[in-house]
């Protein structure tokens, strides 16, 4: 080999050693590791793994042949970015909560915890993605050969072994840094750092090549366009969107790439599994599209430049970026470009292999081993020792398959065709993934059928024509359709002939996939476990922790069994540590001889799922459990029972409250009755007393009159008057009692009439005149001159006035004045009677309106009267909807006032 060949090989290996060193440095330095973990920029750059060798070389090939048609592949991811924050955040939450490590885990766990579905998805992914890995090997190999061929006579032995050497070196890298721990969902921080570094490198290399070609080889991009216009007959086609249905094509490829950037296993690995913080998505929303824009900036100038420089030479346009510097003997730039392409391809190979090998070991090999050895008690022991080995075997198997594919089929495909065919394949999972996250009714049967139809049509419309076209058999089918039916032609299915093969295949596979998924989901009923998983996925943001969403177990296992299961996979110390932390967290004692608390089962399952994936973990846990888990229908029954108990409790509490309330009311009523009883006793005692006093007088004076016949005329007259007065007093008392009873029972009604106030006052004067004259009192009437008539019950108000005036006369001093003031305000007529009595103390001013108050408080004051007058006055005024009260009182006199409303006497 020449010096340049050695140099190139040396640079390539140095570069790989650099990658090794970066990964090693990051993994072994906590400070750097934490920085990488917390860096949203590193996360965003790692997403640029989307730009593989296909982008690096293939975009230029597409642009050179068909112009702008390379752009939708990058516009799709740009378009989907704003939706990512919502879609991917939910996906990340589900993945973290369930220890999911692959897309197969994601779907099989959602659709009934089905290991069989996981196996199907794994096999399909290997079928669809391995060609894509071989594409990267092809790109590295071709670029190697290109540089070597240019600089020296190619060494055929070296050339033939380049792909093998590349695979071995990359395989070693993956085995060293990709399978360090047993946890399959571990964060490969070292690898992510290497990928981010590679992303920067390939961008810089691409920009250097673009600047070199645009500004060194040519004067400016402008010159490239002008020259292209003059020299290239197909120029117009290259700078516009062309084709039979140009915009349908544009749209189809945009949607296809938008789906692929989310679901491709390597993208799932970096964007979901390797995500350390959901907030990193915010940076990726703008940084990733910016990266895509920069890496595409010089694609068209390089493609057109290559077309100008190699016009008619039959060069492969995929490698213009390498050919142009080589043509101008720019070895340094060629090497940089080569390293850029090498890093683009190697990054993809590393990540895609890790993702697929996890899938192969967790979703295919381990479940198969568990199934085969389900009667073997020691199967868990054996598996624990072999988990890492199985993953390493998977890595080797994936790389060997890629090499095999490269050797057998790859020579017949261009970079772009393989890439796009893989894109269409991965899009087949899209309906199932969206259904998993957003539609609780979607079922496992729908996933099987939609995948079967979608993948079948993908094979028939995209893979099959490529194979038979290359191998010269079955051309009849392509030309005349299956069984001679023209509508079944693989490239023009159902006579759809306006689309390119990729968009055609994408359209029909997705058409059948989506519709079958919806229809079958609607027609079938999800199983209990599917329903439960649907709640966990669709309502993932409702759960704050994994425990909330875990399966509830009816029975439990022996702690010794659980401990032994954990020890096999975690080691004795870690297992003990895990059980201790569980014990502390839930305050549950861990005694090996006792059955465990049911809470420990999901805890153990979660620990195991980190190592063997959630599906295999479930199978293992079931092997030590004494009883089966409770599925959603049983949970619903329990919830229903709980609800009924809660409802019953609520009703009991309600009844209890009502009883409490009734008891309180009864107590109140009882107190009132006791009070009324006391009042009644008091009332009877008072009435008895009031009746007894005059009766005693009457009886005494009657006896005197009867027994003493020699009484003088004057004495007889005096005693007769006393008897008469006391009789009148008894009569009045009885009348007042009867009146009061009528007011209390509501039998009294008002006889309203317009009363002339002048006449009313005159009548009053006449009634009280004689009494006043006895005490030589002066009556002063102050009637508001605007008051002529008042609507009221004349007799009753008359009774009130007489009562108040009589009291005033009784309590006034000799030769004093009594005033009656009648006025009004906006609402009421006001009657005020002012005397010059001793006044009423404030505490008694309300009590005097109670029945017999005066009588009951004889010790305080005992003027003449029954003690019922003011009580009756109050009743009369209340009947008028008015108010009576002591307006003011002092030792110099008292003022009573009552008011009756002007209107509203109804």
């Amino acid at each position: 080999m020449s010096n340049i060949q050695w140099l190139l090989l040396g640079i390539a290996f140095s570069y790989l050693i650099l990658l090794f060193w970066i990964a090693y440095w990051v993994e072994n330095s906590d400070k750097v590791k934490n920085y990488i973990k917390n860096s949203s920029i590193v996360y965003s750059l790692s997403l640029a793994i989307y730009c593989t060798a296909w982008t690096y070389y293939g975009s230029i090939g597409t642009a050179a042949k068909s112009g702008l048609n390379f752009l939708p592949i990058y516009l799709g991811p740009t378009l989907i970015m704003p939706l990512w924050y919502f879609f991917l955040r939910k996906m990340i939450r589900v993945v973290k909560m369930n220890n999911i490590s692959t897309i197969a885990d994601f779907l099989s766990l959602r659709y009934g915890v089905s290991s069989r579905l996981g196996m199907v998805i794994t096999l399909l992914c290997i079928l669809g993605i391995v060609p894509y890995i071989s594409l990267q090997i092809k790109a590295i190999s071709n670029s190697f050969e290109l540089i070597m061929f240019k600089n020296a006579v190619i060494n055929s032995a070296v050339s033939a072994n380049i792909p093998v050497i590349i695979s071995i070196v990359l395989g070693a890298f993956i085995l060293l840094f990709g399978v360090q721990k047993m946890e399959s969902n571990e964060h490969h921080t070292g690898i992510v750092a290497s990928i981010a570094f590679e992303s920067i490198l390939k961008l810089i290399a691409f920009l250097i090549a673009g600047i070199f070609i645009s500004y060194v080889v040519f004067d400016s991009p402008q010159e490239i366009y002008v020259k292209s216009k003059n020299l290239l007959p197909e120029f117009n086609k290259l700078i516009t969107i062309q084709g039979k249905s140009p915009f349908a094509e544009w749209f189809g490829l945009t949607v296809l790439s938008a789906i692929a950037v989310t679901l491709l296993p390597r993208q799932f690995q970096v964007s979901v599994i390797e995500n350390q913080n959901e907030s990193h998505l915010k940076t990726s929303i703008w940084l990733f599209p910016l990266y895509l824009l920069l890496i595409n900036l010089f694609v068209l100038p390089i493609a057109l430049g290559g077309n100008i420089l190699f016009n008619g030479l039959g060069m492969n346009p995929d490698y213009y970026i390498l050919d142009i510097p080589l043509k101008f003997n720019q070895t340094f730039i060629s090497v940089i470009v080569f390293i850029g392409g090498f890093s683009a391809a190697s990054a993809m190979i590393i990540l895609e292999t890790i993702a697929l090998s996890n899938m192969l070991s967790n979703n295919f090999l381990i479940p198969i081993i568990l199934q085969i050895g389900r009667n073997n008690k020691n199967i868990n022991d054996k598996l624990a020792n072999k988990t890492l080995t199985l993953r390493r075997i998977s890595i080797v198997a994936i790389l060997l398959s890629s090499l095999f594919y490269y050797k057998i089929l790859s020579p017949y495909y261009s970079l772009v065709s393989i890439g796009l065919i893989s894109f269409v394949f991965i899009a087949q999972f899209f309906p199932s993934v969206v259904g998993a996250l957003y539609w609780k009714k979607s079922t496992k049967k729908a996933v099987y059928i939609s995948l079967f139809l979608g993948v079948s049509i993908w094979l028939y419309t995209l893979v099959f024509p490529s194979i038979i076209d290359n191998f010269t058999f079955g051309k009849n089918i392509i030309e005349h359709g299956l069984f001679g039916c023209k509508f079944l032609k693989p490239t023009e299915l159902f006579y759809l002939s306006d689309f390119s093969p990729v968009v055609h295949g994408f359209f029909w596979s997705m058409f059948f996939n989506v519709f079958s998924f919806i229809l079958v989901s609607l027609a079938t009923i999800p199983s209990n476990i599917e329903k439960q998983q649907a709640y966990i996925y669709v309502d993932v943001f409702k759960y704050t922790s994994v425990e909330d969403s875990s399966v509830v177990w009816k029975e439990t296992a022996l702690i010794s069994d659980i401990s032994s299961l954990l020890e096999k996979f975690l080691g004795k110390d870690r297992a003990q540590l895990a059980l201790n932390s569980f014990s502390k967290r839930y305050n549950i004692e861990i005694d090996p001889s006792l059955p465990s608390d049911p809470k420990i089962i999901p805890f153990v399952e979660r620990l195991l799922s980190k190592i063997v994936g959630p599906i295999s973990a479930r199978i293992m846990v079931e092997s030590v459990i004494k009883d089966k888990e409770i599925y959603i229908n049983e949970m619903l029954d329990i919830i229903q029972e709980s609800k009924e108990i809660i409802t019953l409790n609520r009703e009991l509490i309600k009844k209890s409250n009502e009883l409490e309330k009734a008891k309180f009311q009864l107590e109140n009523t009882n107190n009132k009755l006791i009070q009324h009883d006391l009042i009644k006793d008091d009332f009877l005692a008072t009435v008895s007393h009031e009746l007894k006093s005059p009766l005693t007088s009457i009886r005494s004076f009657s006896e005197i009159l009867n027994q003493n016949k020699d009484l003088s005329e004057e004495e007889i007259s005096n005693f007769s008057n006393i008897i008469n007065k006391e009789s009148t007093r008894i009569t009045r008392l009885i009348n007042q009692l009867l009146d009061l009873e009528k007011y209390d029972s509501g039998n009294q009604s008002l006889q309203l009439s317009a009363v002339n106030m002048n006449e009313f006052i005159e009548d009053l004067k006449n009634v009280v005149l004689s009494e006043m004259e006895e005490k030589k009192l002066k009556l002063i009437i102050d009637l508001n001159p605007t008051i002529h008539e008042i609507l009221m019950d004349k007799d009753k108000i008359y009774q009130v006035c007489i009562n108040l005036l009589s009291n005033a006369i009784k309590f006034s001093k000799q030769e004093d004045e009594i005033c009656v003031i009648i006025s009004k305000n906006d609402i009421n007529y006001l009657f005020e009677i002012v005397d010059s009595g001793k006044g009423i103390e404030k505490e008694y001013q309300e009590l005097i309106f109670e029945k017999f108050y005066q009588a009951r408080n004889q010790a305080l004051k005992k003027p003449v009267g029954s003690g019922l007058g003011l009580a009756i006055c109050k009743k009369i005024i209340q009947l008028h909807k008015g108010e009576i009260y002591v307006k003011k009182s002092s030792p110099l006199g008292t003022s009573f006032e009552f008011k009756i409303p002007k209107i509203n006497l109804n």
């Binding site: 702008l68 752009l71 516009l75 740009t78 378009l79 970015m81 704003p82 939706l83 924050y85 919502f86 400016s220 991009p221 402008q222 366009y225 002008v226 216009k229 120029f235 117009n236 700078i239 516009t240 969107i241 140009p246 915009f247 544009w250 749209f251 945009t254 915010k282 940076t283 929303i285 703008w286 599209p289 910016l290 824009l293 900036l297 068209l300």
Partner: protein, 64 residues
């Protein structure tokens, strides 16, 4: 309230993207062999919009 405001970037960016980069009548207007300052008009149009959208995304995502 927080949930509603978090939808703003989604709506704004989606509108810009779907309204311009996937708006075929607008793309069709630029789908010709003319040049703008020596560059193909459609190519320039797409990249300018692409760049503007990145700036808008950055501003919206990083607003306080």
């Amino acid at each position: 309230m927080k949930k509603e405001t978090s939808k703003i970037p989604l709506l704004v960016i989606s509108t810009i993207f779907f309204g311009i980069l996937l708006n075929f009548p607008i793309l069709n207007l630029a789908n010709n062999s003319y040049f703008i300052l020596g560059f193909p008009v459609l190519y320039s149009f797409i990249f300018i919009v692409w760049f503007i959208v990145i700036i808008v995304s950055y501003i919206i995502v990083n607003r306080k």
